[in-house]
Symmetry: C2
Subunit: 439 residues, 2 copies
């Protein structure tokens, strides 16, 4: 790994150290700092005293080193710093006619690690979101079962629960890139993606409890309680595998925008199947072919036909820092960071190229690397100041390798909307400006 | 595991199904639901039409199944449901004289999995919290180094970063229980505990860059920028091991209450060493013995002497559901859930007793189980309606077993404040009421 460039010695912390003081410190003479430490420890009283004597060193201290700050529980539920207010989930203007049937994209360029903060989780609604009263919410299990049942939230939350970390990605994520539209930032290219620790009861527990028909049962239908009556078919073998009827995300109850009080978690499968405000699971013997399966979320192929039920989100990755719209301020060492994921299992390896795919280096994967979950990668890069094209290429434990956009288009054409998992390219100009390019 | 009791068949989802309808469903006749589905799918127009004809079934539909909900990005930064507002971090009234030098406890009774939502992370301030401007914040590395340096946030965030999940626990957590005070809820017994995915640069990278004195350097001092000038000594070997200079928690920048824009992450060590608003790291040849090391966070022993530098948080666990102040509503199956952790490594096993420690059963650990991180455990319990005493006992991968309160008191007496990692007991009365007892 390249050696980090030294941070320039600038004004000292909170500018109460003059360059001469810093020289003192550099020379390892601790006396000065002891004094500074004692002065600081003496706290408000001494500070006030010295300030009253017009001591300039003290008058220069920023307020937060002198006064009493905010008390605990000043905010019973905390919020980000006011200096982070520009980091928001954002709707793409004009993407849809009404905001209640639209998308807000997560600001991946400002994320770290693999956990998505609940307040910045992406949104996709078909008829808007509601804050449903959990005491009135019910889940029905019916169809090919011995005994149809209706559960209250209390009923569900008494059952054996599991907690697992999984990514959720909309099938239309990166959809604009199918054509020649290179949207400017990673928030809009890849922001229909989030990752949480979900807690709930395995769907298999509920199906067992209701005595599902092991002979005739082949599929389940999941139905939402909002006005769009979102319905999705899920093969029974998958439903019995790792699907969760979840009430919690990242340690707390689901957010209203994400299906409070109950949603389906279908690991590795496109987000539309993670039915929000879940009110019903029906066991059946054939796919339902509901409107959101037949008319939407199907891949338009070059021959004009639609390929249905492409539901697994294939292996994919993207560099988030640096990414489109950002600016490299200086030559020298930069930590290049991004995320990788696969709907089929674990990310096995991520390679990064700084020259548009001619040469590749293997990045460092942060641990833990979990199945059907985001993985964070990091790699050091010495930017010499010339133009460069940054790419990341992920591999999963099935051996599948993330394709180039050109390779995808050869098979799928350029008119599709869904399931684009191509390698993303970011161009770095000599000015340090980073932009989205298709190579 | 005991078989879950069936959820009673109650009013159907959103009470638009009459008992007769449910019978239809139970009989597996799908026709009815098809009709209901089609009606719902038809959406607002049809609904309005039928409503205008006074169709009672439609008039009974809750608003969220009929109208347009909130648009995406209605809240650029999302918040919990209004139905969850009672889940707050809370200060213990009268615990300290000013709220700026106090504690707010995390509501563990409402948490799931291992991730603590940033908005509910516990707080401990010594002179209150501030929202420091990151463009003006600096970190100085000085002392026994070749070249003392001052870093801006930009300097730091360009360096190689890591992302790791760790718990943070205040050394005084569960402190009230040393005496005979059994505080009522798990929020107040164990709520000075949280767990996040932290991102930052390893301290070892910064010390290497500044050329620390490998021969004379034995300790580092970490100093905070707030008025309390919090300073803590950390042995150099630990500083070079897994200590992180962190700017992010759970995917986003640190919260102001948690040290924005920079804090120290010292895995496995009591929270007071995780210096917030970090402004300086000094390399030295002996411990500093600063006020928060000599006068506070030291264990008062029965002989009246203080045991200093007890910094590792030993293996510990607690049942969070059910816990003090909660109420079991029905006999039958209950999922019993809790958390376990160890400052020395990974949790190896958690046993649970329902009879005050006479008999123990091994609980299920959710994965991943990570080093110096919370682990979530679950176990099924058939409550027959009689009195019971619930306990959890954790073991870590060093072979250490969480002690009984009596065992701890034999060694440490009852006058200490810090480092109580004893087994917690929750009494379940015949009424189903759960309370804190010391056995």
């Amino acid at each position: 790994m390249a050696t980090p460039t030294p941070g320039r010695v600038q004004r000292a912390p909170e500018n109460f150290l003059a360059p001469a003081d810093i020289a003192e410190v550099a020379a390892g003479r601790r006396g000065f700092l002891r004094a500074a430490l004692v002065a600081a420890s003496a706290g408000v009283a001494a500070t006030a005293a010295r300030a009253s004597q017009g001591d300039p060193a003290i008058l220069n201290l920023p307020e937060h080193t002198r006064g009493l700050g905010q008390p605990v529980a000043a905010r019973a539920y905390g919020l980000p710093s006011k200096h982070e207010e520009s980091l928001q989930r954002r709707e793409s203007p004009g993407l849809t006619r009404v905001g209640a049937a639209s998308v807000s994209f997560a600001p991946l360029q400002g994320f770290f690690g693999i956990i998505t903060p609940n307040g910045l989780h992406f949104e996709r609604h078909h008829q808007g979101w509601w804050d449903i009263d959990p005491t009135r919410h019910r889940l029905m299990i019916n169809g090919l079962v011995k005994e149809a049942r209706v559960y209250t939230m209390d009923d569900l939350m008494r059952l054996p629960s599991v907690s697992r970390m999984h990514f959720i990605e909309c099938g239309a994520n990166t959809g604009m890139e199918w054509g020649n539209v290179a949207v400017p930032t990673v928030q809009y290219t890849h922001g229909m993606l989030s990752c949480c620790e979900f807690t709930g009861v395995p769907l298999s527990v509920l199906l067992d409890e209701c005595g599902f028909d092991k002979k005739r049962g082949k599929f389940v239908l999941a139905e939402g309680a909002d006005g769009s009556s979102m319905t999705r078919t899920i093969p029974l073998d998958r439903a019995l595998d790792d699907v969760i009827v979840a009430w919690a995300m990242n340690g707390e109850m689901l957010r209203p925008e994400n299906g409070y009080p109950l949603r389906l978690v279908v690991p590795g499968i496109q987000g539309v199947s993670w039915v929000k405000w879940l009110r019903r699971i029906e066991v059946g013997d054939k796919p339902w072919g509901s409107k959101d399966e037949v008319l939407h979320y199907v891949d338009l192929m070059p021959d004009g036909l639609h390929r249905q039920y492409t539901s697994i989100q294939e292996c994919k990755s993207v560099i988030t820092t640096p990414s489109g719209g950002q600016q490299l301020l200086q030559k020298g060492f930069h930590n290049v960071s991004g995320i990788a994921w696969s709907g089929r299992g674990k990310v096995k390896r991520v390679d990064v190229s700084f020259d548009g795919g001619k040469n590749w280096q293997t990045a460092r994967l942060e641990t833990p690397v979990l199945t059907k979950c985001l993985a964070r990668f990091n790699i050091g890069w010495e930017w010499k100041g010339g133009p460069a094209i940054l790419q990341s290429r992920a591999m999963d434990d099935t051996g599948y390798v993330q394709p180039k956009l050109r390779q995808l288009r050869e098979v799928r054409g350029a008119r599709s909307i869904y399931h684009n998992n191509a390698i993303q390219s970011w161009k770095v100009a000599e000015s340090g400006e980073v932009s989205n390019v298709q190579v």
